[in-house]
């Protein structure tokens, strides 16, 4: 045992790969949060007055709310007045296309292994990149434009497509939804917007890459995806942040709208800085993600691989309003060292013959705590609703914790709801078996963990799945117990 713990300690001491930061000139809001700051942000972004009103209303609502305490996480509350709510890289003028973006910014993304130039075309991914508070570049706009697909930064969408923003902003996650969603509504600075017109199948993966660079800055982005009737889109989200001693706040909101027969697949590989091995620093990731299957036969599928953040509070959910609509949630959440994750989903069955599927794979190592929290709600008129939930926990070592909090709330007797749960440990005998075939312990752990998470990883688009596999291996290298 002692040898195993040694291996565990050696390897969990591994440094976070994206912990660097870059100094460049930024345009920042003054510290703190008040109405003036919100006005400052709105002015900076040249927003219409209705949006400023919306923000101020959200701010008032937020002021009356208090931070939720029901999650199974413990952390020192952040002083929200000691944060900066806007930080943007200074650019002489707004870039019209990728060639006009500051080369230094491009270099940041190159360093992250994200190439913004044309070679991405070969991989068929269009990317919107968000650095701190603003979107710095969106690729393939023209290609997509020919199909009527809108894919741009949120701020641009506010200017170019105000009618769509007005119609859908806050329609899935109301500004009053929860503490962090209200805060986001008040101060959000940028994000991605995506609209797929009727009957269009988006020919490439759309992707947003988020990066927090500045210190003492919160990141509050909003993503809004609208898939009109009979359309399809697959959307990817990735994120990293520099390694800093103090905690940083990321409170995002993602809203998805799916019309009749539309399908949206949303995949996240979250790799925010998790804090160091003693639990110092790291991102607080307090995110509200929700989709509505508004039309009949629509489908929303969430896939998430959560490896980063010091504290995660996140429940990508589906409101199954349309008859025959389908909601899916596939999740792998890994916690190591002192990380804490309270994550899961909500499936709200409103329409008839709606189906949902939940597959959650938690992996806890080190001294971390990993909780699955999920709600399956079947409303009164949701005849023949079906849900299948599977919640598995894998423990590594003997100082971590895995918890499952399923809530099932049924108001229609025709509902069929299944819940399966397992807890297992990576056994010394499994590791030894691999060793005996010539496989080193680190690779054995990677192999076993990837096998465990396979059902979820299989849901990811190919190029993301490979990344996710590597990331899982990196996060857990040698955490054997």
């Amino acid at each position: 045992m002692s040898k195993d713990n040694q291996i565990l300690e050696d390897l969990t001491a591994k440094e976070y790969e994206h912990g660097w930061s870059v100094n460049f000139e930024t345009d920042e809001a003054p510290m703190g949060l008040n109405e003036d700051i919100i006005r400052w942000i709105s002015t900076k972004k040249e927003e219409p007055s209705w949006l400023l009103e919306w923000r101020l209303k959200a701010y008032k609502t937020w002021q009356a709310m208090s931070e939720p305490e029901w999650a199974n996480v413990h952390y020192a509350k952040m002083d929200l007045q000691a944060l900066r709510y806007y930080s943007a890289p200074k650019q002489s003028k707004k870039p019209k296309n990728i060639n006009e973006v500051d080369p230094e910014l491009i270099a940041i993304y190159e360093r992250l292994g994200i190439s913004l130039n044309e070679q991405k075309r070969l991989q068929g991914i269009a990317i919107d990149v968000v650095l701190d508070s603003v979107s710095v570049a969106t690729t393939f706009k023209e290609t997509l434009g020919k199909l009527g697909i809108i894919f741009c930064s949120f701020s641009e969408a506010v200017k170019e497509h105000p009618e769509l923003i007005k119609k859908y902003l806050g329609s899935v996650v109301p500004m009053t939804d929860n503490y962090y969603a209200a805060l986001n509504a008040a101060v959000f600075s940028d994000g991605s917007f995506c609209y797929i017109p009727k009957g269009v199948r988006c020919p490439m993966e759309l992707s947003t890459y988020f990066r927090i660079n500045a210190a003492n800055t919160g990141q509050f982005e909003r993503t809004l995806i609208v898939a009109d009737d009979s359309s399809y889109v697959s959307y990817l989200e990735g994120c990293t942040a520099p390694q800093r001693d103090e905690n940083q706040l990321h409170a995002a909101v993602v809203e998805i709208y799916a019309g009749a027969h539309a399908e949206v697949k949303y995949s996240t590989v979250q790799n925010w800085f998790p804090g160091d091995k003693d639990g110092k620093g790291g991102i607080y990731n307090f995110v509200t993600k929700r989709g509505i299957c508004a039309g009949d036969h629509s489908k929303i599928s969430w896939t998430q691989v959560e490896t980063g953040s010091a504290v995660t509070w996140k429940y990508p959910s589906c409101i199954l309003k349309g008859d025959y609509s389908i909601g899916e949630f596939y999740s792998v959440a890994v916690t190591n060292n002192y990380q804490q994750a309270d994550t899961g989903t909500k499936m709200i069955h409103i329409g008839k013959n709606t189906k949902s599927r939940i597959v959650s794979k938690g992996i806890s190592a080190g001294k971390s705590q990993n909780s699955y929290r999920g709600q399956v709600q079947v409303m009164k008129r949701a005849h023949n609703a079906r849900n299948f939930s599977q919640c598995d926990s894998l423990l590594m070592g003997n100082q971590c914790g895995a918890h499952t909090f399923p809530y099932i709330d049924i108001a229609n007797p025709s509902a069929k709801v299944e819940h399966e749960a397992t807890t297992s440990k990576i056994g010394e005998d499994q590791i030894f078996y691999c060793n005996q075939r010539g496989i080193a312990t680190e690779d054995a752990v990677a192999l076993i963990v990837n096998g465990y998470a396979k059902e979820v990883l299989n849901q990811l688009p190919m190029e993301f799945a490979v990344e996710a596999q590597k990331l899982l291996a990196l996060t857990l290298e040698g955490s054997v117990g």
Binding site: D429, Y433, Q436, R437, G438, L447, N450, G451, Y452
Partner: protein, 254 residues
């Protein structure tokens, strides 16, 4: 090839092996027999490098190299293979994927290029025929839901793929019906060569009808108390272990 000298090992402070001496040469098959609890499986585990066992005394030379300081994976890469008595399940990992990882790590250790997918698959096809194993089994999660026979056959298949120098079969016959026993034994026999050696750990003589040993050793209370040829195994089959126990215990009390 393998030289075990005065090997002592214990688990949680309880001595199990109390001075094993054994010489195995290339081309030989040795059977280790003995009553339950005599230390047979412990010997197999210690040679493979299982961590629960603490070697308290003695040394093991494998192809002239000290074996005991090596990690389990390096022993495997040097050519020691253990066919497990109870093969381990690894959900979500296919035998194919598992073996490809293993084989390429072994090859890397030996300074060989990794096998590409095509070469790996053709090697698999060749070895599959040898142990009469179905491809479908190999794409399923490793050992998960396998029958006893399938698990043991899979062990021998892995052995065929990894081409070890020394194979240790730990109670490979347990849980096998007669047909499975024949298939598994055939596989082992086909894999034998002048350059390799096999140690068969078994409680019963039955397996030795198929895998014929050059030498039979009886392990009792952590020592080899009797060695002989395959006739010894037949004698044990007929008379059981009691006469050996008595012989040893009476000498001990004198």
């Amino acid at each position: 090839m393998l030289s075990i000298k005065n090997l002592h090992a214990s688990i949680e402070g309880t001595p199990i092996l109390r001075g094993i001496n054994l010489e195995v040469k290339a081309g030989e098959v040795h059977a280790i027999m003995g009553p339950t609890g005599s230390g047979k499986s412990t010997l197999a585990s210690v040679l493979a490098g299982r961590e629960e066992y603490e070697v308290t005394e003695g040394e093991v030379l494998f192809q002239g190299k000290e074996l005991l300081p090596l990690s389990p994976e390096d022993r495997a890469r040097e050519g020691v293979f253990l066919a497990f008595q109870y093969p381990i399940e690894i959900p979500g990992v296919s035998t194919t994927n598992f073996l490809r990882t293993a084989l390429n790590q072994v090859r890397e250790y030996r300074g060989q290029e990794p096998l590409d997918a095509v070469k790996f698959l053709s090697l698999m096809k060749e070895k599959m025929a040898l142990v009469e194993i179905d491809q479908k089994l190999l794409s399923r999660s490793l050992n998960e839901g396998f029958s006893g026979g399938e698990k043991k056959r899979n062990e021998i298949f892995q052995m065929a793929m990894l081409e070890p120098v020394l194979s240790i079969l730990d109670e490979t016959d347990s849980g096998l019906d007669i047909d499975a026993l024949r298939i598994v034994s055939n596989g082992v026999n086909k894999l034998k060569s002048e350059k390799t050696a096999t140690i068969v750990v078994t409680h019963y003589q039955r397996l030795l009808d198929y895998i014929v040993p050059d030498f039979v050793h009886v392990l009792y209370k952590g020592r080899i108390v009797k060695s002989g040829t395959k006739e010894l195994a037949l004698e044990l089959e007929e008379k059981g272990y009691d006469w050996i126990k008595e012989e040893v215990d009476s000498t001990a009390t004198v």
